[in-house]
Symmetry: C2
Subunit: 478 residues, 2 copies
């Protein structure tokens, strides 16, 4: 029997103003985890959430994580673990979100104050954290509140895990989850896991996400002179690390995205015909891509190959150079030590360790050919694995029905090009299926200037989260 959701939906619409006000209060707290001086604001944000959770009758514990690695004077913000409902006849759903945000300054190019929720005539709600990830986090709280206000029984036990360091590598969280997901831990006992921290593929059609690329991030350091040199005095008599580095970086990938490191593509799982058939039906167009890019500088000319390139093929990006002149204007320096940064997005069946070896060998081979007296060092800075789940799991089935109920359309089943390492941590620690259930759309500009969440995505998203819990409560387990 399909869940009765009309009362709940109506209540969400009725309470929409209140829910937007809650988001406004959350956005007003600049909880930037990457900036040590903002740490008190991150903690203030955790207190705000704690109050909101308590106000709807959830029990909340703020778990300290100790000092930040490398910053003994700086305490990590707490992980909030909240519970709503403790009925052993109900299923238990573990949800995750984060209450910290990316850095933002008006002067970066924002059209409005980044920490004032600003709603325009198209009902776009601009503000840092609106979509990433304060909107979704509050979505769970709002869903509970709307059930109470409409006097509808909450269908599951909800276990919520909200962290404050996601935008800075989720410091300390992995160990916490592994420890607390065990018998006796505060995260033990979930039947399924749901994370709302990614985005629709486009702007109209919701999606459920069952795969993520991994990321191996490398640094190539080339050094020579004992200190930076003046190019007038030493240009022509010293071998320059930058000369070598740009040649090494130029050997990694071509304009068309083809990775030039021998052996990388050999590890990629071949595209099956069955897989190929999945793509044509997905609601995405080159215009969607062009809109997100803000340009037409795509590698591929068609949608299917673009999505495959994003989801199931590796890519290599050169991010920048540490140690070289990076300012405006002109500086006649010969940098003594420069580190090129690049990363490879990984997919099945790339083995992380083997990839490292291939990358190191390639970089060393290219450098050797230069015949340079400079010194090379290449290293892995960090690695996060790729993840692919089964979209046929009952957790996904339930979410698919919820999407259809709220939006009147079946969701696309998507993968993501980026990595959300905590996804795999939850999967491994709980042994349960993890669903990525996005609230925001592809145009939300998370991490960029003018981040926003559309009113529709927020309000319908609250309906979706609630509906999902009803369906997951009833769905036949595999």
């Amino acid at each position: 029997m399909a869940p009765q959701l009309d009362g709940y939906f109506k209540q969400v619409d009725t309470s929409a103003g209140k829910f937007i006000e809650r988001l406004r209060q959350a956005v007003a707290i600049p909880s930037i985890s990457a900036e040590p001086q903002r740490r008190p604001d991150v903690v203030r944000m955790s207190k705000f959430l704690e109050e909101q959770l308590k106000s709807i009758g959830a029990t909340v514990q703020a778990h300290p994580l100790g000092p930040q690695p490398g910053h003994p004077e700086l305490e990590l913000p707490p992980v909030l673990v909240a519970r709503y409902g403790n009925d052993k006849n109900k299923r238990t759903v573990l949800v995750y979100g984060h209450y910290d945000v990316q850095p933002a300054e008006k002067s970066d190019g924002w059209n409005s104050e980044p920490f004032e929720l600003t709603i325009d005539e198209k009902d776009r709600m601009f503000g840092r954290g609106s979509t990433d990830d304060k909107g979704p986090v509050l979505g769970w709280i709002n869903a509970i509140q709307a059930h109470q206000e409409a006097n509808i029984d909450f269908p599951v036990n909800l276990m919520m895990c909200f962290e404050g360091m996601e935008e800075y590598g989720s410091e300390g969280l992995e160990d916490f989850i592994h420890k607390e997901a065990k018998q006796g831990g505060v995260l033990h006992g979930a039947d399924v896991v749901c994370i709302s921290d990614n985005y629709w593929l486009g702007t109209e059609k919701p999606c459920l996400t069952y795969g993520l690329r991994g990321c191996n991030y490398y640094g190539v350091t080339i050094s020579g002179p004992g200190q930076d040199l003046h190019s007038g005095v030493f240009g022509g008599s010293a071998q320059e690390p930058m000369t070598d580095l740009v040649r090494v970086l130029g050997s990694l990938v071509d304009t068309h995205g083809q990775i030039q490191i021998p052996g990388v593509m050999d590890m990629v799982a071949p595209v099956t015909d069955e897989e190929k058939d999945l793509y044509p039906g997905i609601a995405y167009s080159m215009d969607n891509l062009f809109e997100s890019l803000g340009s037409k500088t795509s590698i591929h000319e068609d949608k299917d190959r673009t999505l495959m390139a994003r989801w199931r093929f590796p890519s290599l990006s050169v991010h920048g150079i540490e140690g070289a002149f990076a300012g405006a204007g002109a500086k006649t320096v010969i940098p003594a030590k420069v580190t090129g940064k690049f990363s490879i997005r990984t997919v099945p069946n790339i083995e992380s360790d083997k990839l490292d070896q291939i990358v190191f060998k390639h970089v060393k081979d290219i450098f050797a050919k230069l015949g340079s007296k400079n010194t090379l060092d290449v290293q892995l800075i960090h690695a996060g694995p790729w993840w692919v789940a089964s979209p046929k799991h009952w957790n996904f089935e339930a979410a698919g029905k919820a999407v259809e109920r709220v939006f009147g359309i079946k969701p696309d089943f998507t993968r993501e090009g980026g990595s959300i390492p905590i996804t795999i941590t939850f999967e491994q620690a709980t042994g349960k299926n993890v669903l990525l259930l996005p609230m925001g759309s592809s145009t939300d500009a998370a991490h960029s200037i003018n981040e926003k969440l559309d009113r529709r995505n927020y309000i319908e998203g609250i309906k979706l989260l609630g509906a999902y819990l009803h369906y997951v409560a009833e769905e036949k387990m595999d």
Copy 2:
């Protein structure tokens, strides 16, 4: 008849402590011209110099230069023009120096406080500006004072021009010199010009400098997306400006310093046999180079080719990239717009305009071969011409005799790899011979951490500046 200098030299030795104290006071003023918030310190430094000049009986005028271009709220520091002596029977020598300094922070790696003159057991006097250029500027003042204290007639009329923006492009100075060197101007009437703002080739033997390389500084901008992108989401589907840029930058020069841009080397004046013969006698060794580099990563294996590479061949250095990720750690950004910065040091007979055309064409050709949809822009950021004077001029002859009198050795006649654009301005504006007469040595680390001036170079340098004025007063004009 050789000038009688013993009394003057003895007085300089006697007053050495006072002269070092004067340098200590000057170094203590952090007159960093590149940092707007330090502008009051630059002005404070000009006042200090003004007081010192007045204390020895010079007349001083502080000439305002108006607001800094691009910074209407920021007044440029004044040019100080001082005169000591106004005897129409004496020759008039125009000297130039600058009282501003490069940025410096202890945390950059200094072993001592950069703005506290710190003298070690080897009599090395560490401090920002010690050698560049406060030591030489005070050298002229000290020379006057020692003459007064020893009761020796000052041999020339000394016209001093000291600016406060040298380390930031000598903003406003060029126009000032051209205007004031004319009949009726405050810089009119010099017989010769002397600039003490460069360095010995090594550490033991003084030199006189008669040539400088020029510098054409370029920016290559490649842009594509409307804003920075997340490499997880867009890696593989968007053409990346950085991918193109590192390939373009990699096409400019090789590890061995060979410029790869067709046509550049064709413009370089051939090395004559006569010229070749100048090099073996010059006091310089590969060990001198290795010491300055702090490494053995030289391009050439022998001294002569190293000096030629520095003085009379062009070189190309890649300085860095604006717009890419330049920080520590890992950031998974696809930069939307990146500008690679590189410069070419120019020599006779490279024509600046023609060089620009050749560079632009090469960059465009390489970019076209990439087949990229991104947008390319290449531009000249600034250009300063090369300069070569006659080392046979009587100004150089006088300086050569002064060196021999003070140090007991004939100087090397050198060129410099760097550019001092104001040299050419003085030559053009006054129509007189310009001599570069360095005080510091090759190990002084101007612009770097731990900048220093050896006590010997300062004290003997004061003797040299004074002796030079005596010889220049008597030398037979060509």
